[in-house]
Every structure is written in structure tokens, then in C-alpha cells.
Amino acid sequence: MYNFEFEKPATIADAVAALGAEDAQALGGGQTLLPTMKQRLAMPTKLVSLSGIGEMQGVCSNNDGSLSIGGATTHATVAAEAAAQYPALADLASHIGDPAVRNRGTIGGSLANNDPAACYPAAALGSGATIVTNAREIAADDYFQGLFTTALEEGEIITGVRFPVPEAANYQKFLQPASRFALVGVFVAKFADGVRVAVTGASEDGVFRWSEAEQALSASFSPEAVNGLQVDPANMMGDIHGTKEYRAHLIGVLTKRAVAAAS
């Protein structure tokens, strides 16, 4: 690890100011960033910890029925506190990584990193969530822009995420057995005006919506509705843990499982 400065502001405003420094980097739970720094694959001059900012912590319900989660809220907290309002989201959070990861890692950190095998991007895109930053609000559909790439500007902080709560939802994850990351993960959410299906782990472009399945499921929310639909393997990831064809196939299987579990 290279040397760096460390700051732990108490307000969003102070954090934004601190991130104005050259090569400063926001630190969530550090579950990806710190190992990356240990490998010397990242060399920020300053880390700005977001964990001391009270207004970025916790889970609460809004008047319109949606759920707001502070950007610095850990997976373990989401698993515990979102369980009543949005059980599918809480369930997803409760299966990220291991207990150590869940007690340190944050939703904002996960979404800002946008790892192609991470779980939260599927929940955010699948729910049609709104990513709230210190500067603006970004629809999930506009937010995810490819592997490790998002709409965030330099120094912009995810202060919270607002999730519309669907009528029914479920997340299914196929584990790569060694690392237990998602080889493929599918989040299905049924709203009054239609169904959303978001897929993580599988595509060379990161999380994406499977629109054909969404149309079919919006017409009939049943596993059978997905029969005959197939994601094109060409754009899938092929690596040491699975071929493109296997990943494309698993998307269909996991989508059906998610629908069956949600309905």
C-alpha cells in the first residue's frame, strides 16, 4: 500500500470539500478499495471516510411507500432493517460476501464501484431505484454504464438510494463456488406497471436489464412466461469459472427461479 492522507468528516458538505483535493478517494466500507490499495492497484493521495456521516446512515420509509437507504449503510444493517418493508432487498443484502464483508461494506460503496459480479447493482437496476448524490438524483437506468463505470462525476458521493417497493420481488444468485461471488445473479421485481429483470455477473458490460423477459413477465408473471427466451451468449462473459453459453443459460434458469420465489 502506498502512503495516503486520511480524513473522516461528519457531514456530507465536509466530505465533498475534502474530496476536492487532487486524487482524493471516497472510502465506504473499504471491502474492495482496501484490498485494491494493498495490491498497489490504486494510489489515492487521500481517503475520505464516509462512515462518520450520520445523515448517510440507516433505512427509512418514505410517504410514497418507497424506501430510502443511506449511502453509508452496511449490508448487515440493510439485511436487518429493510426486512419488513422490502424483504427481497434485505435477503439480497444478507447474502453478500461473508459476515465480515456485510458488517463493513456499504450500499453506496458497492454501487459506486459497480463490480460486474456485485449483487446491489442488480437490486438497484431491477427495482428502478434512484441513486441520490450530493449533487443530484440519477435514475438507475442512467447510472450503470459498464464494468466499474457509473454516471458519478469526480468527487460525487452517493448519499443515499431510494428504492420503490415492488409488489413482489426476488433475487437469485448462482455462486462461483470458490469466491462465492455471483457467477450470475438475477433480480426480478413486479410493479403495478410492469416487471423489471436485472442481471449481474454475466455480461461483459456489467449489470443489464433483460427486456424480453420483462415484456413476457409483464404480460404473465409466471416462470413459464420465460420459456423459449434466451439471452444471446455473444455478449456474455466467458472466463475460467464459466463459459458464455453457461452464463446465458443460467440467466434463464435463475429468472424462472426468481419469479417462482416471488410469486
Binding site: F174, P177, A178, S179, I240, H241, G242, H249, L250, V253
Partner: protein, 765 residues
């Protein structure tokens, strides 16, 4: 008597509390240096330029050594003198050590090692079996062939024939403690080496060669390893030799341990095989003729590949009397890590071959796979009506599997479960359960006959305490405890009176590796011989004191009874003998009898006896994803008259899980440049505690060795590994339920492999 008691491992408390010392835990003198290798980044070629200036100027670096700096022999091969410690300019695989960094800390050495600027003239590497075969890149002149009868004619005349080819992956040892060594230079130029090795004498030999001294100047000590599995039979040489050279160069103690990623990238693994078979049989499933071709991926150096590939051939019959058989084995040289010893030493690969054939025939005939196997079994002792010899001409005279199979099928409720599973599978389209039985017959002895010897050194002190030393090494398997139980039993004293000590080349010389499952067999006998020598001297003296014969002196229960009236404690007896000027120290020696083997002809008796086992595994498979679970495993294993049933059952459980891991989740992947891409637990999946079967019934067969082994026990290190084959066969059985064609699973049967197989079966794809 402590023999046969289910006592815990002697160091169990130390293991659990963390107090057990491994090489890296050993306190080192001030100024100890730490070493790291600079590794090749290309798989084949020549080094055209090597700029080490950035390495030398890296913080903490004391010296950097290359092949040119080595004073004597630059070789760490256990066999063919083809494995330079540091590259001689030729590069043979990605991960090959090129230079050695000596630094003030482990980290400083590793950081510096990456700073070299290296130019290569790259050549096209041979990475696959096909490439090596096409290039005729091999060890030995041509294939080794063992034959019995005319297999081709028997197959041609057979009513039915199945044939096939499948791939069988390698396996990383994944010992919990990585490779490690520590060298302490002595005042006279000699070297004391503390090594995590299964083979201290080999370390002594290679270190002596490297520093140009006789073996007497090098002393190697090994208290314990945190797992070996064969991975520390030859792979520790490089570290120990590097430490000794660096210690000689600087006059300072030197220590080296591989980081896990480096360990996986540098060291050899289990040999990957491709096995082709053609089997002729009759309508009842009796094998008439069988041909195997083994393509063996040996990696870049010979290491132990010849005896490994031999042993695969020697287990191509497993438990079955095959009238005509031909086994052809190609030992191919590729630009990968040099494959090495791994629990079973080729036996598992050979056995998977024949069990695959049995699975295929049972599918072809729609015959119960257990019944098929029983029809082909060797004859039980005394029941053979005709030929009952192996493909290499050894009479099978201790075949226990008829009785063991019957017992296991009954205790595991095979018939009822088979029927229930068949009915269940008819009701379920997506999930199928599978059930499979596989037997193990594993030959015990080193096939290099002269290795079948062992020595021991036992002292009885004047207070009646006993110091025990022998040539075997402790790698977690419990050898020390089993041998200590033997010593305690010979003297009739409680186990606590026997002190277990580190393996030490200065105490017992010229030892063989603790390998080939031979540890307890060989060292137990050597210790018994030493103890009996001392006991006879004591009995003789005590008898004379009381005008009796030695036969009237009985050692039992911590006491010594002398005639009908006198009973003294063992401690008093030791004191009396000391005062009577009786030598209370003895060596002991053992060599395995009856062995005679010609590996070129493939004829003789390479094994003293066979160890047997039987396993029944139940799995469930999901057609849509290939996901699978082992639901239940039932095992009956033959440890003869077990020296310690608790330790032996531990070996059986661990062996099964490790064997099942090899054939299911453990997948080694190299990229097209020859770089190992699975070099950490995040990418390479070994079985965890939660992956063991939910129902896991393991029992030892109530028998005893028909040969005269130590207390009629049997070796138990390797044989249970092959019980895991039943898990792979159970997956095949489950997949077969999705259609009518034979699944033809490759190994490892990962979820994706099972998914492909299920599609082949159900779609004909």
C-alpha cells in the same frame, strides 16, 4: 496395551490452541534473512537479458543470487537431475525460479523479486497433451506397456464392447501450511536445516550436494508439517537448498516460505490424465478383454512422474480379475509445473479409469453396477478356481471385498434405497438423485523396492521414561501417535511415558519419504524391533538377578513381573538395569519382505499386501444448472487390526472428502500462455467443512492383515482417497437418469460439466 485404542492425535491440543510449532513459528536468531524467488513470466524460451540492478537496490535486499553464483550442483530434482534450482538460462514454465533474493524481511524479498527486468526469447510452449504427443515430447523413450494375455483378440471376440475417452484433471495439494524451510549455518561449515518436508533424508542429500559437503555435515529436522499429501515429498527441496546456499553465502540464518499464490504457481500438482479405454465383455458383464491408454501430463521435469505413471497402470485393474488387459502409458513433457506425488501417487487416476469402464458397462447392459462389480471381483482367499493374478502377475491372496461389499450394502440399505431413488427419479424431471458404489484395492509398498526400509532409535532413561525417534514424518496424519502406541505396548507402559521427538537425520539415517502410505507399517516395525532389543536386554538382566529365565519376565501395565512373586515398576526396572550396566538404547530396522518387481517388464510382486475399502455415495443433481450435492456417504474401510481407530477414521473421512473434491469442484485452469489462473482459494475450490456429506457413516472393517505387519494393521494414508470416486460415479448415475445415452462425464465434474453432460444425455447435443 495402548495399541488399538482410539486415542486423540498427540498434538491435537497444540494444533487447536495454536501452540504447535511449524517451521515459520520457530524462533530465529537475530539477523535471519528471508528469501524469495524471482519467477519466470513466460512458459518456454531463453533468457536474453537479466537486469537485477533494481532488485539489488530495493530496500532491505542483502544479496541476489543467480545460477552463476551457485558453488556446486544446481539441481533440486529427486530423480533425473533435470531440475535446476535457478534457471540455467532456459525457461520451462511460468513460475520457474530464475534468481534468489536475500532480504531483511519476507516482504522486502518478495517486493524486490518483482523488480527484475527480464528479456526473453520466447518459444511456443507445449501446454496440452495433444501438443506434447504431436511433438513427441516425453519422458522415457516411448510408452510403457504392461500386458497380460491378448487384449485385442479378447475384445475382438467379445459379445459386447464399450469404448471412450475422458479427461481427468490435476489437483493442488493445498496443505494448510505452505512450503517452508530454515537453514542455520554451523561453526564448521555444516548446516542445520529445519524443513517442512515428508522426506528429510532427501533434503539432507540435496543440501549436501548444493553446498559441496558430505551428508554428515547436514542435519535436517522436521517436527511436523501442516499437511503434506505428497506435495512435500520433493517440492521442499528448492526452499531448503536455497536457504542452505544463502546461509553459506552470508553466514547468516536464512528462512524461506512461499506465499500461497507463489506456492500454487511454483510447485507441482497431481498429474492430469486423459484415459482412453476399449472393453470387451459378455452378456453377464464379465470382462473379457480391456485396453487402456494413459496420456499423462508430467509437466516440465521428471520429478516422480515415472513411478506415478507406473502406479496408475498398476491400479488399472482395481478390484477386478481381468483375463486379458493391455495398458499403454505415455509420460508427456509439457511447459507446466512439474507434476509430483499426490495422495495415491497415480493409483487414483488408474482406478478412475477402470471404475469408469465398470460404470459404462453397467449402463450398456442396464445391469446393477454393484452386481456387475461383484461378478468381476478377484476371488476371496482360498476360493480361486483359476487365475487370480493382477495384470502384473501378482497373486491376489488377501481379497476382502466380497465380505466388505456385503456388509456395506446391508448397513447402507442399498437395495431399498436404490428402489426408492429410482421411484423418486421417475417423479422428478428437473432433479435426479444418483447412487453409486465403488470399491478400492490399493497396493501397499513403494514400487521402488529399496525404499521399503525404515530405522528407529529408542532410549530408555534410568527413570523409566522413553525417548522415541524414527524416520517417519508427522504431517497431521497421526503417525507419531500410532508409533508411540507401539512403543508403549512393547514396554507395557502408559503412553505418557513415551516422548515423541522430531524426525532428525542425525538420529535415524537413510530414511525413505513418509509416503506410499507406508509410515506406520515401516516405522512401527522398526520401533518395535528397537524396543524389543532393549526389552530383551532388560528381561535378561532382571531374570539373572532372580535366577529365572527371561521368559518369566513380563512387561505389562506399567509394571515388570519377575517370576510368580516379584513385581516392580517399569521405572525401578530401568534403574536396576542402568545400575547393572545394561545398554538401554537401541536402533531398530525393518525391511518389507516378499517384494520383487521389474518395472520395465511389469512383472512381479511390487506390493506386500492390498488395503481395501468400499463406499456408497448418494447425490442429487439439478438438470438446469448442474448444481449438485453429496447427500450421503457410507464407507467401510479396511485398516486391518487398526492401531488407532480414531486416527484411522479421520484419515478415511479426510481422504474421501479430498478425493471427492478432486473429481468435482477442484479445477485447475491454465491460460493459453501457460499461466496458472487458479492460484488462490478465491478461484480454486477445495471442499470445505460444509461440503462434506450431511450423512457420513464411516466404519472400519473388523479384520486383520493377512500379512505380518505391525500388530496386523494396514496402511491407511492413501487408500481412502479413492473412496471419493463413488461421488463422481453417483453424479454420473444421476445424470444418466435424464436420458438414455451414457453421460461420459469428465473430471472434475463441475456444475457446468454436469450441465453439459445432462444436455448431451437429454438432447443428444
Amino acid at each position: 496395551m495402548s495399541v488399538a485404542k482410539p486415542l486423540p492425535h498427540d498434538a491435537a491440543r497444540l494444533h487447536v490452541t495454536g501452540a504447535a510449532r511449524y517451521v515459520d513459528d520457530t524462533p530465529t536468531p537475530r539477523g535471519t534473512l528471508h528469501l524469495a524467488f524471482g519467477l519466470s513470466q513466460v512458459a518456454k524460451g531463453r533468457i536474453t537479458s537479466l537486469d537485477l540492478a533494481p532488485v539489488r537496490s530495493s530496500p532491505g535486499v542483502v544479496a541476489v543470487l543467480t545460477a552463476e553464483d551457485l558453488p556446486f550442483d544446481n539441481d533440486v530434482s529427486p530423480s533425473n537431475h533435470d531440475e535446476p534450482l535457478l534457471s540455467d538460462g532456459t525457461v520451462n514454465y511460468i513460475g520457474q525460479p530464475l534468481f534468489l533474493v536475500l532480504a531483511s524481511s519476507h516482504r522486502a524479498a518478495r517486493v524486490a523479486a518483482r523488480k527484475a527486468v527480464i528479456g526473453y526469447a520466447e518459444e511456443t510452449p507445449l501446454l496440452t497433451l495433444d501438443q506434447a504427443l504431436a511433438a513427441d515430447s516425453r519422458f522415457e523413450d516411448g510408452p510403457r506397456i504392461y500386458e497380460k494375455g491378448d487384449a485385442a483378440a479378447a475384445i475382438a471376440a467379445a459379445p459386447r464392447v464399450v469404448e471412450g475417452t475422458f479427461d481427468l484433471g490435476g489437483q493442488e495439494h493445498f496443505y494448510l501450511e505452505g512450503q517452508a524451510a530454515l537453514a542455520l549455518p554451523q561453526e564448521d561449515g555444516g548446516m542445520l536445516v529445519n524443513s517442512s518436508t515428508q522426506h528429510p533424508t532427501e533434503i539432507q542429500h540435496k543440501v549436501a550436494e548444493a553446498i559441496g559437503l558430505p551428508m554428515h555435515a547436514v542435519r535436517v529436522e522436521t517436527r511436523r508439517m501442516g499437511g503434506g499429501f505428497g506435495g512435500k515429498e520433493s517440492q521442499g527441496n528448492a526452499l531448503a537448498v536455497a536457504c542452505a546456499l544463502a546461509a553459506r553465502h552470508t553466514g547468516l540464518p536464512c528462512k524461506m516460505r512461499y506465499d500461497r499464490d507463489d506456492d500454487m504457481v511454483i510447485t507441482g500438482k497431481r498429474h492430469a490424465f486423459r484415459i482412453s479405454y476399449r472393453a470387451g465383455f459378455d452378456a453377464d458383464g464379465r470382462l473379457l478383454g480391456l485396453e487402456f491408454t494413459h496420456l499423462v501430463n508430467c509437466g516440465w521435469a521428471q520429478d516422480l512422474s515415472l513411478p506415478v505413471a507406473d502406479r496408475a497402470m498398476l491400479h488399472s485393474d482395481n478390484a477386478y480379475a481381468i483375463p486379458a488387459i493391455r495398458i499403454e502409458s505415455h509420460r508427456l513433457k509439457t511447459n507446466l509445473q512439474s507434476a509430483t506425488a499426490y495422495r495415491g501417487f497415480g493409483g487414483p487416476q488408474g482406478m478412475v479409469g477402470i471404475e469408469r469402464v465398470m460404470d459404462h458397462i453397467a449402463h450398456d447392459l442396464d445391469l446393477d453396477p454393484v452386481e456387475l462389480r461383484r461378478r468381476n471381483y478377484y476371488a476371496a482367499p482360498g476360493t480361486a478356481t483359476g487365475d487370480n493374478t493382477t495384470p502384473y502377475g501378482m497373486e491376489v491372496s488377501d481379497f476382502e471385498l466380497h465380505e466388505m461389499t456385503a456388509q456395506l450394502l446391508q448397513s447402507a440399505d442399498y437395495a431399498a434405497r436404490r428402489a426408492e431413488i429410482t421411484a423418486w427419479n421417475e417423479r422428478h424431471a428437473r432433479l435426479k438423485r444418483g447412487l453409486a458404489f465403488s470399491p478400492v484395492k490399493f497396493g501397499i509398498s513403494f514400487t521402488l523396492t529399496h525404499l521399503n526400509q525404515a530405522g528407529a532409535l529408542v532410549h530408555v532413561y534410568q527413570d523409566g521414561s522413553v525417548h522415541l525417534n524414527h524416520g517417519g514424518t508427522e504431517m497431521g496424519q497421526g503417525l507419531f501417535q500410532k508409533v508411540a502406541q507401539v512403543a508403549a505396548s512393547r514396554f507395557g507402559i502408559p503412553l505418557e511415558k513415551v516422548k515423541i521427538t522430531a524426525t532428525d537425520t542425525a538420529k535415524v539415517p537413510n530414511t525413505s519419504a513418509t509416503a506410499a502410505s507406508s509410515g506406520s507399517d515401516l516405522n512401527g516395525m522398526a520401533v518395535m524391533a528397537a524396543c524389543d532389543t532393549i526389552r530383551a536386554r532388560m528381561a535378561d538382566h532382571l531374570a539373572r538377578l532372580h535366577q529365572l529365565t527371561p521368559a518369566e519376565v513380563i512387561f505389562d501395565g506399567g509394571s515388570v513381573r519377575i517370576g510368580a512373586t516379584v513385581e516392580i515398576s517399569f521405572d525401578e526396572a530401568a534403574k536396576l538395569c542402568y545400575e547393572g550396566r545394561i545398554s538401554l538404547s537401541s536402533t531398530g530396522f525393518y525391511k518389507t519382505p516378499k517384494l520383487e518387481w521389474d518395472r520395465i517388464k511389469g512383472q512381479g510382486r511390487p506390493f506386500f499386501y492390498f488395503a481395501y475399502g468400499a463406499a456408497l455415495t448418494e447425490v442429487v443433481v439439478d438438470r438446469l444448472t448442474g448444481e449438485n450435492r453429496i447427500l450421503r456417504a457410507d464407507i467401510l474401510h479396511d485398516a486391518g487390526a487398526s492401531l488407532n481407530p480414531a486416527l484411522d477414521i479421520g484419515q478415511v473421512e479426510g481422504g474421501y472428502v479430498q478425493g471427492a473434491g478432486w473429481l468435482t469442484t477442484e479445477e485447475l485452469v491454465w491460460d493459453d500462455k501457460g499461466a496458472l489462473r487458479t492460484h488462490a482459494p478465491s478461484t480454486y475450490k477445495i471442499p470445505a467443512c460444509s461440503d462434506r456429506p450431511d450423512v457420513f457413516n464411516v466404519a472400519l472393517y473388523d479384520g486383520q492383515n493377512r500379512e505380518e505387519t505391525i500388530y496386523r494393521s494396514k496402511a491407511v494414508g492413501e487408500p481412502p482417497f479413492m473412496l471419493g470416486i463413488s461421488a463422481w460415479l453417483a453424479l454420473s448415475d444421476a445424470v444418466a437418469s435424464f436420458g438414455t445415452t451414457y453421460p461420459a462425464l469428465n473430471a472434475p465434474a463441475t456444475a457446468e460439466e454436469i450441465w453439459h453432460a445432462a444436455r448431451r444425455v437429454s438432447d443428444g447435443v
